[in-house]
Every structure is written in C-alpha cells, then in structure tokens.
C-alpha cells in the first residue's frame, strides 16, 4: 500500500480542531444482519457537526456497510440511526429528507455515463430541490471550479481520467449543498498521482467545516485531517481515538496488528 506524501509528524491542523456540540448523526445500538450473517454488531456512534471521522479496518469489517446504512442504501434491523434530527426508518419521506442532506461519494465514482459532467451535477438540484436550471448550472460551475475542472463541464464521464471523475463525483454531491458528506473508499480505485488531487479536494472541504465520514486506507490523510479515527473489525467498533493517540498508542491488540501491517511497509 502506498502512502501519500504526508509527513508523519504533522498533527491535525489546529484550525481544524473546531467541532461544535451539535449532534449530526446519532447511531444507537445498531445491529444489521445479511440473512444469518451478523454484519454490524452493537454500533454506538455520535458524530458532531463539523467533525471529520475516518473509519478504517480490514476488508469485511463492515465499514462500508456502516456508512451505507446512514443514507439507507442498506437497511438496519435493530437500533436507531438519527441524522440531523430525523430518524431513519422505512418511511420514505424521512429517507428522502435525509438523502437530501447527506452526500455520498463511491469507490467507483458512479457518474451517469449518458449525461455530460454539467448535467450530472445539475440533475439532482433541478429534480429534487426544484431549483431553476440557470441557477443550478451556476452552482454546478462554481463547484466544478472548486474541484479544479471547470473546463470539463461539457465532456462525458467516459472521457475523463479516474481522478477527474472522482472530483466530479464530489462536486456532484456538493451541488446538493449537503450538511454531511460520506466517502466510501474514494481513492481506492485511483493510481497514486490521482489520489493526491482527490485528497486535496477533501482536505479543502474539511477546512470549510463539512461534517465528513470517510472510509479509507489513506492513513496520512487521517493524520492530517481527522478529528477521530475509528477502527472496525468483524462488524464492531474496536477502538476510536484522536489520530495521534490512535497511531502512536493503539490500545487493542487487534488494532496493533492492523497498524503494524498497513504502516509497516
């Protein structure tokens, strides 16, 4: 695993330490099964507004499943999840309300290949938030400029590189002006040079105070930006701590084993 070029001495930037007391996401005693398989066990997690959380762990630990439960791409069978004060149940109205406020970026970008970049970004604001087309296009160009690819607006996703596609995916989510952003291994499908451009975008987002939950293997990013690092294994949260404490003094043996393997080489 290649580490991106972040100095291992850089602690979290003090200007990023600001976290409010307002609860953005509250997960209480959440359990999920796939058939007989108990994939998430007794998850208790509170995310405050402005917090940036990195979730790491071995494959199959349930990290992606956890964040997918937050915007109801997966259903939980037990426990409660409350996002922005709205409880996540099978009520479609609640789900739609929550999905408007929670943006998500996927490992495989999931851009719409039959639409141009601009249309990808304006689709949801026009059809979900009912914003007029002109205004939606201005917002889209603003966010495309922010992720540094305004000139690609009229191309199709198939004509862009992986890093550009992922940045478009981030811009597309931002166009809905969400209050929480979820990232499901956003850089895992990218080669090293493109990882940096995507991580830079995410760091900028963090500096503006966005609440972020990020499943990633990029430990340098975690050290630079995260308020909390959560380690999951076999469906439960094994350890969570501030990044420096987490990397320097892991408490659980399982965490120590994991860190030794990913930071070792």
């Amino acid at each position: 695993m290649t580490e991106t070029a972040f100095s291992s001495e850089s602690a979290v930037d003090p200007s990023l330490m600001k976290v409010s007391n307002e609860v953005a996401i509250q997960i209480s005693n959440m359990n999920k099964w796939y058939g007989e398989f108990h994939v998430l066990r007794n998850i208790d997690l509170t995310v405050y507004r402005g917090e940036r959380i990195v979730i790491c762990g071995p494959s199959g630990s349930g990290k992606s499943t956890l964040i997918r439960c937050i915007n109801r791409l997966e259903e939980h069978q037990q426990g409660t999840i409350t996002v922005d004060g709205t409880e996540l149940t099978s009520d479609l109205k609640n789900i739609d309300t929550i999905r408007k406020e929670v943006g998500m970026c996927f490992q495989h970008f999931n851009l719409f290949p039959h639409l141009t970049i601009l249309e990808n970004c304006t689709l949801a604001p026009i059809w979900v938030r009912k914003i007029p087309r002109k205004e939606a296009e201005e917002t889209a160009m603003h966010f495309l400029a922010k992720v540094k690819i305004p000139d690609q607006a009229h191309k199709y996703p198939g004509q862009l590189s992986g890093g550009q596609q992922q940045r478009v995916a981030i811009a597309r989510s931002l166009c809905m002006k969400p209050r929480i952003m979820l990232f499901d291994e956003p850089t895992s499908a990218l080669d090293p040079e493109m990882i940096k451009e995507v991580l830079d975008t995410m760091i900028e987002l963090a500096q503006e105070g966005m609440t972020m939950l990020c499943v990633t293997h990029e430990m340098g990013f975690a050290r630079q930006v995260a308020n909390r690092v959560i380690f999951m294994d076999q469906g439960q949260i094994v350890e969570q701590n501030e990044p420096e404490e987490f990397f320097r003094n892991p408490k659980s043996d399982r965490t120590k084993l994991f860190l030794s393997q990913i930071l070792g080489h």
Binding site: R72, F112, P113, V128
Partner: protein, 435 residues
Amino acid sequence: MSDVHAQTVAYVAPSQIPPSPPPARERGAMKWFRANLFSSVSNGILTVIAILILAWSLPALIQWAFVDAVWEAGSLSECREIAAARGVEGSFACWAVINERFNQFLFGFYPEELYWRPILAFLLMFAAAAPVLFNQIPRQTLVGSALYPFVAYWLLWGGPVLPVVLAILGPVVGYAAFRGVEKAMEGDAGAAGMVAGALVTVLWWSFVPGLIDGGPGLAPVESARMGGFMLALIIGITGIAASLPFGILLALGRKSDLIFIKTLSVIFIEFIRGVPLITLLFVASSVLNYFFPPGTALDLILRVVIMATLFASAYMAEVIRGGLAALPSGQYEAADSLGLDYWKSMRLIILPQALKISIPGIVNTFIGLFKDTTLVSVIGLLDPVGIINPIRADSNWNGIVWEFYVFVGLFFWVFCFGMSRYSMYLERKLATDHR
C-alpha cells in the same frame, strides 16, 4: 559478480520521442483479397467453394427474375405466350401479376377512389416519426407526432370527425386528472397519479366519443376492406409503438418489491410468452368479445392490434429486464444517494441507460413483431400473405407461386432492414461512454 549483471545496461531516455504518423498502408485490391479471402489455406478453399456456389446459382436466379421475366401481361397464359414469342425456355418470372394487382397488394380491397387517404396517412407517418427518431428536429413537432394516431385513424377508417376530436381530448383530460392527484398529494403523484390518469383516459375513450354519431366527416370504410401492406403496417406500427411503453412497465413491475404488482407482471409475461401468437389471434377473433360488456363489439383489427401489442410487450419486458440487470448497481445507488425518488431515477438515470443497452434486443422484437403480423391471414384478415389467395383464385393468375412470395418477402425485407440500420445509427449516436 560482474558477469551476473553483464546483460544489464543502465539506460536513461535522452529525450521525449515525439508522436509521428503511422506508416502508409499498402492498399490495393490484391492486398484486400489476400488478407480477407485467401489468408490461409482453409479460408482459400472456402472462398473457392463460395465462388462456385454463387456461379452456379446466381446466373440462374438473375435469368429467372430479370432477363426472362415478363413485366406486363393480362393473365398467366398471356405471360407464357409473350415469353414463348421471345424464345424463353424453362421457367421465368411473371411479374405482370404484381404489376396488375399492385393496388391490391398495397391497399387490399380499399375503395379505389379513396386511395389518397391511406397514402396521406403513410406520408404523415414519416413526418410524425421523424421528431421521435431524430433528436435534431425541434421538440415542438412532437405535438404533431402525438396527434398523428388520431389523424391516421380518421383518415383510414373515415367516419364523422367530431368523435375523433373528442378522443384527442381523452389524454388531455387524463393528464389533468394526473395533475389533480399530484396537487392533492402535495407534489409527488407517483403510481396513484399515473393510474388515475390512465383510468380517466380509458373511461373517457369508452364513453365520450360514442356520444356523437353524425356531423361532417369522411366516407367510412369497414375494416373488412383493408388489407395488403397497409394492413401489415397498421398492425405492425401500432403494435411496435404501443408495446414499448407497456413492455417497460411490465419489466419494472417484474422487478418491483410490491408482491402484488410483481406477481401480476410475472403471470402476464409467462402466460403470453408460453402461448403461440396464433392462439392469441384466434382468441382475438372469436372469444375476446365475450370479455367485454355486451353490445360493445370491438372492431376485428382493433382486437388484433391489442393482441399483437400484448404479445410483443411480454417479449419486450424480458429484453428490457435484461438491460436493467446489466446496469451496474452503482447507478441505482448513485441515483438513490442524490435523493431521486423511484420514478425520477427510472426516467432520468436507469431507463435511458437500460434501453440503450437493450437496443439490439428491442429492435429484434420489433422486427419479429412486424413479420408476425402475417399470421393474421389465419383469422381471415387480408395481410400481404393472406391476399395472395384471393389473387391466385382469379382464373387469370391461377398457377403462379413464386412471384408472390418473392415480392412480399422483398417488401418485408426492405422495412426490416430499414429498422436494422436505424438501430445501428441509434447505437452509434448513444455511445457516449467510449472515448
């Protein structure tokens, strides 16, 4: 150990090699022949065999169809006299029958003085199809396309014009009902709105146009007089146009999580697919009227169109379901995570991609349906194959066999090939996901 590394020479590229054009390909007929026809011994042998087969069959075919053929005559015996006078021995094509009976092939037994009506309807069909098939045409012309079915019906069957105008209002009223439900449910009408709109439209069509019986209009023509290519086009085009939306709904119903809708869709698809089209046509011609309230005898052609549409929809549903399954699940997830509800994500994201993937299968079903319209000859309608029998029954043309089938086959081939080429054009135009 210097000899271990003896072959390794450190290398640094001195500069970036600039891109240059590829070498000019040697072209020429001989090169093409050698590459494509004689590239290996087995290919060469196959080429020689193919040439021999063509040399044996093609001249005989051209002789029969063009060189020895008789183009104008009054009867089969006259054909034979003309051919004998020319010194033709052996068989020849008596195209005179097609020449003589061309109108019957085209229009069946439609009154001759009213031929302008089906011709006009045919020309308008191209005008109505153009905005649907080609995006470059301004979108306002779609209104004309929407009106076309009613105009074409009135041109072909005649009758008073006021009921047709009332029928045009049907979907308008249905749309108003849809909007009403939308307003009542505060924004999202969903399935209830569509059902309401469809129900209101069907009820309107069932009762309102029937209220008016007279007034100005065109001379009416009964369905029994329609036949030939006109009939094939009526059944084929209506079936094609109607089976696509219905097939989409069935495919979505089959994928649905609502057990009631899913079961209904599965039963419908499996039943229709499991039964030959001929049996469905027999049902249409004999039994279907019993399912409707007494007194409403639906026209035979309408019943046939309904059956053909249902038949094609079942096949279409499975083709589209394949397209829906081929779509990566990430597309569904991305649409969901952006907050799009079911019908919006279907309309904007999923169906455009799924239909594009299914284009070969969809056009295949269309072509199959168009040719299947010849089955209506079994229930007495005079489609191009069915009209051969009355023509052959005429003592003038008794004994002609091949000319009819070659001609009808050519007609179908032209239309099916046209559909095929359009589908390739569409696939090329929609291939946006390749660099």
